[in-house]
Amino acid sequence: MTDALALAFDFGLAALVLIVATWTLLTRETAAAAVGFVAYGLLLTLVWMRLAAPDVALTEAAIGSGVTGTLLLGAAARLRPTEAAAEAEQPGKAMRFVVALLCASVSAGIAGTILMLPDPAPTLAAEAAAALPETGLGNAVTAVLLSFRSIDTLLETVVLLLALLGVWSLAPDRVWGGRPGPRDGAYQSEVLTFLAQILAPFGIVVAMHFFWIGADAPGGKFQAAAILAAMWILVQRAGLVDSPPVSRRWLRLVVVAGPVVFLAIGFLGSATAGAFLAYPEGYAKPLIVAIEAALLPSLAAALALLVAGPPARTE
């Protein structure tokens, strides 16, 4: 693409993003807003590609738009009865005008600040590139996530787990330990069953592909986990399998296994490589792949369970 064409494309994309975002935020019906949000997420994926961040684009598509969208759509459907009451609570025109002014000035301030950022921009790209061979990886973003700043990734898996814990804590006492989500087959239809049977194995293969190439090319466990979670949700909604009760030991172990392995390898590092979360010489790549392999099922389970919600029915 020539520069002018690229810029024109960017302008078009940016305008589209703004339009869809504005529509999403201002439309009357919440369910429509949720759909708009999914469209917005897909547009953002394109923006991330234009910003030369394919790993982020994949994550945005899979988690930011895909899994989040599913969650919001489901919630919007269940909350439809409350729409009428909410209408009455809308703040007055004057209030909305004042808030709009405030938000516009915040936006302007931030935009101005961004345009004032120094040129040439300070960056850690050179340091990352120089340190990359030591990790044995080809994908710099994976290296940042699992080597240079692995504490962030470790803690982030704990964040995911805590969110799951919080969601589970919302179950009424009488159904504690039961299965999350509505009865299996609640959305049953032949089309859905067919789709689930065809798509699920394909989705699993795609997920594995993304997971495997993440070491050297855009991809990785988060995206793969999101795809696996989506496949699970599809299969569960079609009635082909039922959600496991949350009291099941094996489910708890699957969810916990990822962070546990990560921690164990971290302590291994402190024993053999001199620092917590360090990797011994030459073993970096295999250990990183091991961590990712352990994290994949945990993340997929956690993502799927977060969408499923708190326990809602006993076995």
Binding site: A14, V17, A33, F37, V99, S107, L124, A125, A128, L306
Partner: protein
């Protein structure tokens, strides 16, 4: 880096839009949705920063990109927890409202610990 600057301005606009939605909408689900738009705007700012930091054979600075990936997962977790809270509130009370007179009414009744 004109493309990056353009998306930087868009990101700022998204932050403002998300903030507006978060403050103005009475329905908690719309607030959560607006929070997601706001969050994506912030992530885009990281993305613009990453793009401006391209070099050493890479299209962008990998550190902010990695931070965004972490951020997207954290934002999803937050959305899931908030939605679960909201749905539970709806199940308990039949309405989805944060209005204080709804909760204060129960408070005034006293109740126990």
């Amino acid at each position: 880096m004109n493309g990056a600057a353009l998306f930087g301005v868009i990101a700022a606009a998204l932050v403002g839009l998300g903030l507006y939605g978060l403050i103005v909408h009475p329905q908690p689900l719309r607030k959560i949705l607006s929070f997601n738009v706001l969050g994506s705007g912030v992530f885009l700012i990281f993305g613009v920063v990453a793009r401006r930091g391209a070099g050493a054979g890479m299209g962008g600075d990998p550190v902010p990109q990695a931070l965004v990936i972490t951020g997207i997962v954290v934002a999803f977790s937050a959305t899931a927890l908030a939605v679960a809270l909201l749905l539970r509130l709806f199940e308990e009370t039949g309405r989805a409202s944060l209005r204080s007179d709804v909760s204060n009414a129960n408070d005034e009744a006293g109740g126990n610990s």
